[in-house]
């Protein structure tokens, strides 16, 4: 599944691949108000790979993902100590515009959320936002093809995006996200609202998309992580201080995480002893 990976011993491949790191995310502490949601988590997203975030509910994997493109700024009381370096620049630097960050780091959400407008307009949305001067129709077609949706919608581009089925809506959201050619695509449990067949299609799509984009995906489905992720980060919940604080337990090649985890906790989780 992971071409050229040398097996379990190579999880330190971070050093070799460090020039391929697109996002270096070191979260010392993340708060929502006074609630410590995530601590001590250092995750690296490598170029052209799919990085999976797994872990039990409330382990902060979504918080970490949403920290990468500053979506958490929209949540009141959010505060972050640490850094998120995107191609060497700290996205939490005061001078950085979160809006600009989100244009480089696109996002697909848990619930399909097309806008209440036509299929075409949904995909063209980001292009128009960025005052794209080229042939919009071509780009829309290309994006829909990349999202494996073109054949199903090419005759009804004027229909509302909301008229599609759940799986189609999610692929529409993916098309909308890739239309503006972001360098990273964040996916927050993109299949949890979908049936197995639609899930399968999205997974195939992710493997296809990673040729062009770097992907980070949150999933609570371990089989999914094994099927699509090259690198897996496992998060746990620390309830010792009366809080439910998430933290990174370990990360590495997916194969290594699932077959020879270093941490006992990881081993118990991936073998299904708790969830």
């Amino acid at each position: 599944m992971t071409p050229g990976s040398g097996g379990a011993g190579l999880q330190g491949g971070g050093a070799a691949a460090s020039n391929g790191v697109v996002i270096d995310c070191k979260l010392d502490q993340v708060y929502y108000g006074t609630f410590l949601a995530v601590r001590d988590s250092h995750v690296q997203i490598e170029k052209g790979k799919i990085t999976g975030f797994i872990g039990p509910s409330g382990c902060g994997k979504s918080t970490v993902l949403r920290s990468l493109n500053r979506m958490n700024d929209l949540i009141r009381g959010f505060r972050l100590e640490g850094h998120v370096h995107f191609r060497g620049q700290d996205v939490y630097n005061r001078k950085v515009d979160p809006v600009a960050v989100r244009r480089y780091i696109g996002m697909v959400f848990q619930q399909p959320n097309p806008f209440a407008m036509s299929i075409f307009d949904n995909v063209a949305f980001g292009l128009r936002l960025n005052r794209f001067k080229g042939a919009i129709a071509e780009r829309v077609e290309q994006a829909l093809k990349r999202a494996a949706l073109w054949d199903e919608v090419k005759d009804k581009l004027k229909n509302s995006g909301l008229s599609l089925s759940g799986g189609q809506q999610q692929r529409l959201c993916i098309a909308r996200a890739v239309a503006t050619e972001p360098s990273v695509l964040l996916m927050d449990e993109p299949c949890s609202a979908l049936d197995p067949i639609a899930t399968r299609r999205i997974e195939e799509l992710m493997l296809e998309l990673k040729k062009n984009y770097t992907i980070a995906i949150v999933t609570h489905n371990m089989q999914q992580a094994q099927r699509v992720a090259d690198v897996t980060a496992f998060f746990g919940v620390d309830i010792s201080k009366g809080n439910r604080t998430g933290y990174l337990v370990e990360s590495g090649e997916t194969k290594q995480i699932f077959e020879s985890p270093r941490e006992q906790l990881t081993k118990e989780y991936v073998s299904g002893q708790f969830s």
Binding site: N69, M71, L74, V99, A100, V101, R102, R103, G106, M107, F109, Q111, N113, P114, F115, A116, M117, F125, G126, L129, N130, S160, L162, C173, R176, A177, T180
Partner: protein
Amino acid sequence: MSDRGLPAAMGPEAGVRLGRSFFERRALRSLLLTIGAWVAAILAAVPLVSVLYMLIVRGGSRLSWEIFVALPPAGFEMGGGFGNAIVGTIVVITIAGLISIPVGVLAAVYLAELGPDTRLAQATRVAAKTLTGLPSILAGVFAYAVVVLTTGTYSAPAGGVALAVLMLPTVILTAEEAIKAVPRITRDAAYGMGCTRSQVILKVLLPTGMPGVITGVMLAVARAAGETAPLLFTALFSSYWLFGEGQLHLLQPTATLAVLIYNFSGMPFDNQLELAWAASLVLVLMVLVINVISRLVGQRRA
């Protein structure tokens, strides 16, 4: 385990009976509730339908081309119409809308999205809720003091301001609800695409909430169109056209349908009484037409 408490039909020995049984208690209760709902619905429709019926019967007989183009008759004159009052109503409502819709919708954007928990927002909300119950004549008093006294004349803009004051709270509160009702995930999608705050508002929140906003605006327009009291000493009345010599003269007393109905319905002349009925019908039809148009416009999106 005993099956005590289970209805007989679900007991172990009972045969399978799938037919309807009218005399079972829950079937009866269901029937009663259905009848009750029907009766309530009919009762609610009675005033509406009877008013419409009266309007059509008494006003419809007088509908003709003449009433749309002629000026109101004086005293014992026969014939005549209320063309100037139709124009006046449209002008006054337009002015009221031009003031209250932009201000109201922008205020709603502030309340719903920009600063929902600020003191200013809380104060505005309380003020708007209080103002919805404002006796409409007070809106007239306000416009009289602010516009009539400063311009020195009764006029359509004065009437427009009075109606705008009445419309504003409805527009603000309904538009706020409509914008708030746009789902969180849609907002996320917009921010996730790299929208600035103003782009989120203009390209996503307002278009998505548009049907709700339009409904609120329509409620406000419909209410304002029928208001008489605030116009009595702002727009006043006139038996002449608003325009003359090819120009619109806004700063003069202006006829409106509502005030015409009020004036004519108190007169001892049959001709005027008939015209008052016809004017009522025309006013209702105007509100209906605006309503249908706005609904169509609202539906075309999404």
